[in-house]
């Protein structure tokens, strides 16, 4: 009515700082476009059933576009089909579905995410050694895809053996518990492939508690992890911070507006995985900002402080 676009934003989850920052990036971007867009927020709390209902309610509200992060690669397909049939543009943010029923996808491929870390680790170990893998949650595609990417890589190195792959829920405490026990059972662990920074932190603490020398580990771009890495650098610790940047959240809005404006948009914007290595670590770590904050951001330091304080 007011000539603005109405965009439905489905906040898929509020349970960790990454998902919070993803939503914050979107909001920050939306504030720049208040003249052009109205946003209707819905909250899925990690519950696929709820997400489907939310999409349907957004259809009922006749929004012009829906931005959603599917919590299941398949379950949402019928609902999204319905939305598109109603003329609503669908933009998938940070996760995809196993069909073509969307108008744009803005993400970093999780398989590539897993692969990137694995390649770095394999090189670092000179193509041989015993490693452990720390995964997220069984049945969630992010977790499965990342591990799939990693396994593809390790399969090419016959001398690299995954002695244990466990689910630690992207969680620090679970990561630490898992690694403590695995260390006790395995006198030789040469590397840790982890698909989440908090779990890598847990792994580091477990190694230190067991007084075992640190080994190469893959990490992520969360500030808490980067700070720790920085501290440990002079002890010879080496890592890689693979990133699924939260600025995808702002990018999704830009893409959505382009779509609604009728501009040509690349359907699958699958960005290469940004990485942080020892060489550029200093560029990304922010010693004065919160541990919760993620480096792959378009937020200003002030906005970060407003979101996470310290």
């Amino acid at each position: 009515a007011d000539g603005k676009y109405t965009i439905g934003y489905d906040n898929y989850f509020m349970g960790n700082s990454w998902s919070v920052q993803l939503a914050a990036e979107f909001k920050a971007e939306a504030e720049k476009h208040t003249d052009k867009v109205n946003v209707v927020y819905v909250e899925s709390a990690g519950d696929t059933q709820k997400q489907i209902a939310n999409i349907e309610d957004l259809i009922t509200k006749k929004v012009d576009a829906i931005i959603t992060t599917p919590t299941s690669p398949t379950a949402l397909i019928p609902a999204l089909k319905k939305a598109r049939a109603a003329g609503i543009k669908i933009v998938l943010l940070a996760a995809t579905i196993k069909s073509q029923d969307y108008d744009a996808l803005v993400t970093v491929d999780d398989v590539a995410f897993g692969r990137t870390g694995a390649e770095w680790l394999a090189q670092k170990l000179g193509g041989k050694g015993d490693i452990i893998a720390l995964n997220g949650i069984a049945g969630i595609s992010t977790s499965d895809d990342r591990f799939k990417g990693a396994e593809e890589v390790f399969a090419k190195y016959p001398d690299i053996k995954i002695v244990a792959a466990v689910n630690a829920g992207w969680d620090y405490a679970q990561g630490k518990q898992a690694v403590s026990n695995l260390l006790a059972a395995n006198p030789k662990i040469d590397g840790v492939w982890s698909q989440g920074g908090a779990m890598t932190l847990g792994a580091i603490d477990a190694f230190e508690a067991a007084q075992r020398p640190l080994v190469p580990m893959t990490g992520e771009d969360n500030n808490g992890y980067l700070k720790r890495w920085k501290q440990l650098e002079d002890k010879g610790f080496d890592s890689i911070g693979t990133s699924k940047p939260t600025w995808l959240g702002s990018e999704a809005l830009r893409v959505t507006i382009d779509l609604l404006d009728g501009k040509a948009v690349e359907k699958d914007m699958v960005l290469p995985v940004p990485t942080i290595t020892a060489a550029d670590l200093d560029k990304f770590v922010k010693p004065d900002l919160s541990d919760s904050f993620w480096a792959g951001t378009r937020l200003t330091d002030e906005q970060v402080k407003a979101t996470f304080a310290n």
Binding site: Y41, S72, A75, I77, G139
Partner: protein
């Protein structure tokens, strides 16, 4: 006219949920033009379907004074089975899913009856086991349910269609069962007082078997509804149903200590729960407040029931 007897008391227990649902409809309809949009009513029926079926199964168990925490996992497993078999079996996959649901119910019953494990803990354990089974069958969401299932069952997502028919049929059947059959009386009797029920000739084991089987069956039926809705399988999708089904039943006046409550209340409770979330979205209320509101509504509704007084046994 309400029939004399305990049915009347039980029906009255469902009244607050009904009033709550009506109030939400009134508020949502007067503040949002979208509420009565055809699409919305159809969506609501489709959402009530799996929740109310799961809650109905739960009600069997609750009436008997037991509880079933495995409902969510059974729903997940059901979608997984449906999505792995429906392409080859067609509609024959549905009875297969229902049989699997019965098997889960049988596991619960066996644990409760033969191993004498408390139902809360037994179904908590079986919930993990069934979830494991779902993950074995389908480690990540996928599989396929053909679109013809959706078309045949949900059709155009209208108010009047198969989902409504299934709800009405299931609840009418259950209403007659609990209100007017000896079998229903036995279930209430068991929930009312185990020892007295046994002394009155109730075959406790048989009733326990049947309520857990019923719960498994209805959870599987809910799983079929979910599976057709998502046209795929998902080993985690059912998790939230467990607590929601209990909440719906309880909101509808079913007493957790057993023996009290009626089937219409369960339906009213399910409708109320679905409406709360819908109203929040349509009215664009802060989604962060939704959980708080749900909790408060719960407290208020429960206060209304409790005014009637609790049984004197501790």
């Amino acid at each position: 006219m309400l029939p004399r007897g305990s049915i009347r008391t039980n029906l009255l227990l469902g009244l607050p949920a009904l009033l709550l649902a009506a109030a939400i409809v009134a508020v949502a309809a007067s503040w949002s033009g979208d509420f009565f949009a055809a699409g919305n009513l159809g969506n609501l029926v489709n959402r009530v379907l799996p929740l109310s079926l799961a809650a109905l199964g739960q009600a069997f168990v609750l009436f008997a004074g037991r509880i079933d925490l495995s409902v969510g996992s059974v729903i997940s497993l059901s979608t997984a089975i449906l999505a792995t078999t429906s392409t080859s079996l067609g509609w024959a996959a549905v009875p297969l899913v229902l049989v699997a649901g019965l098997a889960c119910g049988a596991l619960n019953a066996a644990g409760v009856i033969y191993l004498r494990i408390n139902p809360l803990i037994m179904t908590l354990a079986s919930s993990a086991i069934v979830k494991g089974a779902a993950l074995i069958l389908m480690p990540t969401p996928g599989g396929e349910v053909d679109y013809t299932f959706y078309d045949a069952f949900y059709g155009q997502d209208l108010l009047v269609g198969w989902p409504l028919a299934v709800i009405l049929l299931a609840f009418l059947g259950a209403f007659l069962l609990f209100g007017f059959t000896r079998f229903g009386r036995r279930i209430y009797a068991l929930g009312s007082d185990d020892r007295a029920a046994y002394a009155n000739g109730v075959d406790v084991r048989r009733v326990e078997w049947s309520v857990f089987l019923a719960s498994g069956f209805f959870a599987a039926a809910a799983g079929v509804a979910v599976g057709i809705k998502i046209l795929s399988g998902d080993p985690l999708i059912g998790d939230s149903f467990t607590l929601d089904a209990i909440a719906a039943a309880v909101l509808g006046g079913v007493a957790l200590q057993g023996g009290r409550g009626a089937v219409p209340g369960v339906l009213a409770g399910s409708i109320a729960l679905v409406l709360i979330a819908n109203a929040f979205n349509l009215l664009e209320l802060d989604p962060n407040l939704q959980q708080i509101a749900k909790g408060l509504i719960f407290v208020v509704a429960l206060m209304l029931f409790m005014r009637g007084g609790v049984r004197r046994t501790a």
